[in-house]
């Protein structure tokens, strides 16, 4: 196939991928704890063509034309190489519901699912029939415990929705500040947010090296100091302790203006790429006319 066609095709594909990303961000503009995704494009040279070129080097002096040619450039394609999730905090929304929690600063709640322990910033929890704190999916919200421990042993039993939570995530019975300690949220700090993989339902799966290593046997990573300049791409700095707010939710951090602008841009770039594709098609049609009389 014509190299130019490949390049424009890759451009069109990349832009359609971009639109899919934007669509998901906008669809989740009202999802508590959602973090917007961004696609990053990179130019890639097709290695195969390079090796072809090298194999075809003629055993003679280069002509001026050959020296001037930038063979291979036109075969470059654009790839959607990687993405990053914008880990900045969303707006904090006061709900007044005692079962809503928001984390300020670098911190995630831990949730026990059938696929292992997941992290989440969506703190809209509910109490199940057994009095345990669970997510809307019915997964247990976890208290501190060893990483490999049985999640059910780390469940937070609150009994009813009548409890209060201090800024460190300690849960006390009754609506007044303090009281009998019922449990504690396990708050996990992330040191490399690029190693978090989205798992749907507002969950993130922590790949190796994602979270700050826990001090002691599964103790919450509160107060673990890491040089904030080393990892700029996280929610606040790991040097500060996450703060839990009861009766608040962290809204989605999708910026609607930015997404709509990106949408327009993606559509126009897609159009330009398809326009070029059309141009290349016409060129090859004309080329096939050349030999005719």
């Amino acid at each position: 196939m014509d190299a130019g066609l490949v390049t424009t095709l890759s451009g069109a594909l990349a832009q359609s991928k971009q639109v899919e990303k934007i669509a998901n961000n906008i669809a989740n503009a009202d999802t508590a704890g959602y973090k917007a995704d961004e696609l990053m494009f990179e130019e890639a040279l097709q290695g195969a063509h390079h090796s072809d070129l090298r194999a075809d080097i003629p055993e003679r002096a280069f002509t001026t034309g050959e020296l001037m040619s930038r063979a291979g450039d036109e075969k470059s394609v654009v790839l959607y190489g990687s993405e990053f999730t914008d880990m900045r905090a969303g707006a904090y929304k006061q709900t007044g519901n005692s079962l809503d929690f928001a984390i300020q600063g670098n911190g995630f709640f831990e949730v026990g699912t059938s696929d292992g322990v997941m992290l989440t910033r969506a703190g809209n929890f509910v109490v199940n029939g057994e009095g345990q704190l669970v997510t809307h999916e019915g997964h247990l919200v976890l208290g501190p415990g060893a990483a490999g421990a049985d999640p059910t042993a780390r469940a937070i039993n609150v009994g009813s929705s009548k409890f209060n939570v201090d800024t460190e995530g300690n849960i006390y019975a009754g609506l007044d500040r303090g009281g009998v300690l019922l449990g504690q949220f396990s708050l996990v700090q992330v040191q490399d947010s690029s190693k978090l993989q989205k798992a749907g339902s507002g969950y993130f799966k922590a790949l190796e090296g994602a979270v700050v290593p826990q001090g002691g046997a599964g103790a919450p990573a509160r107060g673990v100091a890491v040089n904030p300049e080393e990892k700029p791409n996280v929610l606040g700095s790991t040097a500060t302790m996450p703060v839990v707010h009861q009766g608040m939710l962290e809204a989605s951090n999708v910026n609607a203006v930015k997404e709509m602008t990106k949408l327009i841009e993606a559509q126009r770039l897609f159009e330009q790429n398809t326009k070029l594709m059309q141009g290349f098609g016409e060129l090859s049609a004309q080329a096939s006319e050349l030999g005719r009389f």
Binding site: N28, N128, K198, L207, A256, L263, Q278
Partner: protein
């Protein structure tokens, strides 16, 4: 085909749900003891185009990968059991619960339903019934010659026949649940117990964990109309934004069709 068509469709569906919930809240803004609901959303599963850690060359790996989300889903409609404000009515058979708990109501089917609506009436036999005519539990029968009825904060129902003849008619009890948001709403201000709500715990008003009763008051709905209207605007604009993405995806497919 572009996934974004389906993704934006899930976004539109979610905002339609949000609008439905808001419209029910606003419609019930003046319903006694109504508790507002809110729709909760979560992101759908992700399609992995390129896993984090996939090889980019013989020695390097991709640090992040590319995962594309497929939209949003409604995970639940949560009822918020915040106390509604007290509305003085001056009527003897109006009772408000200040704090936790539900009144129990006997349904004609023999089942028990729960309500916070204490806007009671008397039926032909002098029984205290709800607006629908369902008797409250425990049954209270008011003597016909009663001049004045009072309900004490601890639930004691008293009938004053003459200033010197005050009869005790019974004591109203309250029921609490571990997870009141798990109760199933049955309409007519009634709720039914479900496995998610947990076991019903019954006690006297004013005891630990139970609210106190307030006679001649009704609990207003806890709907804040300003907040609902703001949410409504949000829902409409987000719906529009999703439809714009859908339109754009459609136009892109249109552009593609013109290539040949």
């Amino acid at each position: 085909m572009l996934n974004s068509l389906n993704t934006s469709a899930t976004g539109m569906t979610a905002q339609v749900k949000q609008t439905e919930v808001i419209s029910n809240n606003i419609a019930n803004a003046d319903t006694v003891s109504f508790k507002r609901s809110r729709a909760d959303f979560q992101d759908l599963l992700y399609q992995t185009d390129k896993g984090p850690g996939s090889a980019t060359s013989a020695t390097t790996t991709n640090p992040t990968g590319v995962q594309t989300g497929l939209g949003v889903k409604v995970t639940g409609v949560t009822r918020e059991y915040k106390q509604g404000s007290a509305r003085p009515t001056g009527r003897d058979l109006d009772v408000m619960i200040g704090g936790d708990g539900f009144f129990s109501v006997q349904l004609p089917t023999g089942e028990v339903a729960y309500t916070r609506d204490g806007n009671w009436k008397l039926d032909g036999e002098g029984r205290v019934v709800t607006g629908e005519g369902f008797p409250i539990i425990p049954e209270v029968i008011v003597p016909p010659e009663t001049r004045r009825l009072t309900v004490a904060p601890d639930g004691t129902f008293q009938a004053e026949i003459t200033p010197n003849d005050v009869q005790q008619l019974g004591q109203i009890q309250l029921t609490t649940f571990m997870n009141p948001s798990g109760l199933s709403a049955e309409g007519s201000n009634l709720f039914r117990q479900t496995p998610a709500s947990g076991e019903a715990v019954t006690g006297n008003p004013g005891e630990q964990g139970f609210g106190r009763l307030q006679n001649q008051y009704l609990e207003a709905s806890n709907v804040n109309s300003v907040a609902e209207m703001t949410e409504l605007i949000r829902a409409q604009r987000l719906f529009e934004m999703n439809s714009k993405v859908m339109q754009t995806s459609d136009q892109m497919l249109g552009t593609l069709n013109q290539v040949k």
